[in-house]
């Protein structure tokens, strides 16, 4: 399909730029690790407590880091001709959304690939036995985060107060993702006696599907002049 | 009545907020009315002076 091909072209371009400069990746990893460190200091050395809240801390770090990188989603288009360049994009603009979405997901997942092991060390958690489940949760949560994030980043790209408006719009919309990801991660780490993880995974999946459909549908309107 | 304070504050707040907002909306309506009336006046005056001035 044409849209998929164009989307792939955008992902490839953005990821090539990123791989060459590693500009975002390094900053994001450092910032997220910093968040985890600061939380650990704030909460104190009680390892039992840290283990119980590790899921929450991880996803707070991911969310903050994600927001930072989201506001630069369209940066390469902006600096070389502004959002006008996006509007005059030949063909279905939805390819842009798809491409940017994939780019954000890949970038955030690669940061998480460093962050999860870091959290395992800091909070003394045995993550390796549950690696597959955690990877699944990370994927569902990151996709949900990126869908809404990529969309709102486009909506706020021209605003002067973008740094304020993006989090303001984004965080209420992200509540189900955060609840789902945090609870599922915590249950996997702490031990799921009642087999509740499934509920949260279903919530995340439903959120991802519903908002992917809504966002990709309305995306052209968000880019209208 | 037990816990009288909470009940009074609760009901009082309800009345205060609702009537306060009502008053505010009506105030803004009046000032919008006045502003539009001024615009209409200045439009009328502009039209009169344009009609009065002979076209050379």
């Amino acid at each position: 399909m044409d849209v998929l091909r164009r989307a792939w072209a955008i992902v490839w371009k953005d990821l090539l730029i990123e791989a060459r400069t590693k500009q975002s990746f390094n900053a994001m990893v450092f910032f997220a690790a910093l968040v985890l460190f600061i939380f650990s200091f704030a909460l104190g050395p009680d390892t039992e407590l840290l283990r119980r809240v590790s899921g929450g801390l991880l996803w707070v770090g991911i969310a903050f880091t994600g927001i930072l990188s989201l506001s630069r989603t369209y940066q390469s288009e902006e600096t070389s001709g502004g959002i006008e360049g996006l509007r005059m994009y030949p063909g279905d603009v939805r390819a842009i959304f798809l491409g940017k979405l994939l780019g954000n997901v890949v970038l955030l997942l690669s940061v998480e690939a460093v962050l999860f092991p870091a959290a395992a060390i800091l909070f003394q958690i045995e993550m390796w036995p549950h690696a597959l489940e955690l990877a699944g949760i990370a994927l569902l949560g990151t996709v949900g985060f990126s869908i809404v994030g990529t969309f709102y980043a486009a909506l706020t790209v021209n605003l002067r107060a973008r740094e304020v408006m993006l989090p303001l719009l984004l965080f209420p919309a992200l509540v189900p993702v955060l609840l789902g990801a945090v609870n599922a991660t915590t249950l996997v780490v702490v031990g799921d006696v009642m087999q509740d993880t499934g509920i949260w995974l279903r919530l995340l999946s439903a959120f991802d599907v519903i908002f992917f459909v809504i966002c990709i549908w309305i995306f052209p309107i968000a880019l209208e002049e | 009545m037990d816990n009288l304070g909470f009940i009074v504050v609760g009901y009082g707040l309800t009345w205060l907020v609702l009537s306060g907002y009502t008053w505010r909306v009506n105030r803004r309506l009046e000032s919008a009315d006045r502003a539009l009336a001024e615009w209409n006046e200045s439009d009328d005056r502009a039209r009169e002076s344009a009609a009065a001035a002979p076209s050379a």
Binding site: V148, F151, L155, T156, L159, R160, A161, M165, L168, L169, F171, P172, A173, V175, P176, L179, G180, N183, M194, D196, I199, W200, L203, A206, F207, I210, F211, I214, C215, I218, I221, A222, E224 | M1, D2, N3, L4, F6, I7, V9, G10, Y11, L13, T14, W15, V17, L18, Y21, T22, V25, N26, R28, L29, E30, A32, D33, A35, L36, W39, N40
Partner: protein, 225 residues
């Protein structure tokens, strides 16, 4: 054809709303007997629940009008949406404040992570985002479009948020046992619900008229430069 601030039908409705609200408060405070279990504090339910109901109704109206606007691009729908959002904020703040008034004597705390209260707080954040993004656009059409997008996505999220918080709570707490409601309590609640709804309709009439007038003023300013 000039529109003015004065309106006989609105004034009449306003008086009726005032009378019904007064009746509701008098009955709720003095006529209906106090709850056997909770005592007099339960009377706050007669203002808290209708406020919550109207907060959600307002938001639903914002959603409907947002969809209508995106389909028909008639600024009339946008004016109704914006009015309902502003009034909705008033009801939402009132709901949260009354929730605290009821919660403190009943459960000893100003705030609980009760699903409905939590969802209401998040709804407030979404409302604020809706009103905030309106302030960033000078062009009426652009403003209406951005607001409509935020309104639609925001509202789509509310049921998901509600479900997630319910799961979050019930998985940590045993569910509360439902009690049967005495008929006089139900009738008092209905009376106050009717009162609040009349107030909403009255406020909408006035606020929409204000939006129309301000729209005309905007036109004049834009035309004359």
């Amino acid at each position: 054809m000039s529109v003015s601030a004065k309106s006989k039908p609105a004034a009449l409705l306003g008086l009726v709303a005032l009378a019904v609200l007064l009746a509701g408060s008098v009955v709720g405070l003095f006529v209906v007997p106090a709850d056997a279990a909770q005592g007099d504090v339960q009377r706050l339910m007669y203002v808290h629940v209708p406020a919550a109901w109207l907060a959600f109704l307002s938001f639903f109206v914002v959603f409907l009008m947002s969809v209508l606007y995106l389909i028909q691009r008639d600024l009339r729908w946008d004016r109704v949406a914006a009015s309902s959002a502003e009034i909705g904020v008033v009801f939402t703040v009132l709901t949260l404040a009354l929730g605290s008034m009821w919660g403190k004597p009943t459960w000893g705390v100003w705030w609980t992570w009760d699903p409905r209260l939590t969802t209401t707080a998040i709804m407030l954040a979404i409302y604020v985002g809706y009103l905030a993004i309106r302030s960033f656009a000078d062009d009426p059409e652009k403003r209406a479009r951005w607001a409509a997008i935020v309104g639609i996505i925001g509202f789509a999220n509310v049921p998901i948020v509600y479900l997630s918080v319910i799961w979050w709570r019930t998985l940590h707490q045993p569910p509360s046992s439902p009690r049967s409601v005495a008929p006089e309590i139900l009738w008092t609640l209905m009376l106050n619900l009717a009162a609040f709804t009349l107030v909403y309709i009255y406020l909408m009439m006035r606020r929409i008229r204000l939006a129309r007038l301000e729209g005309k003023l905007e036109e004049r300013v834009a035309y004359h430069g």
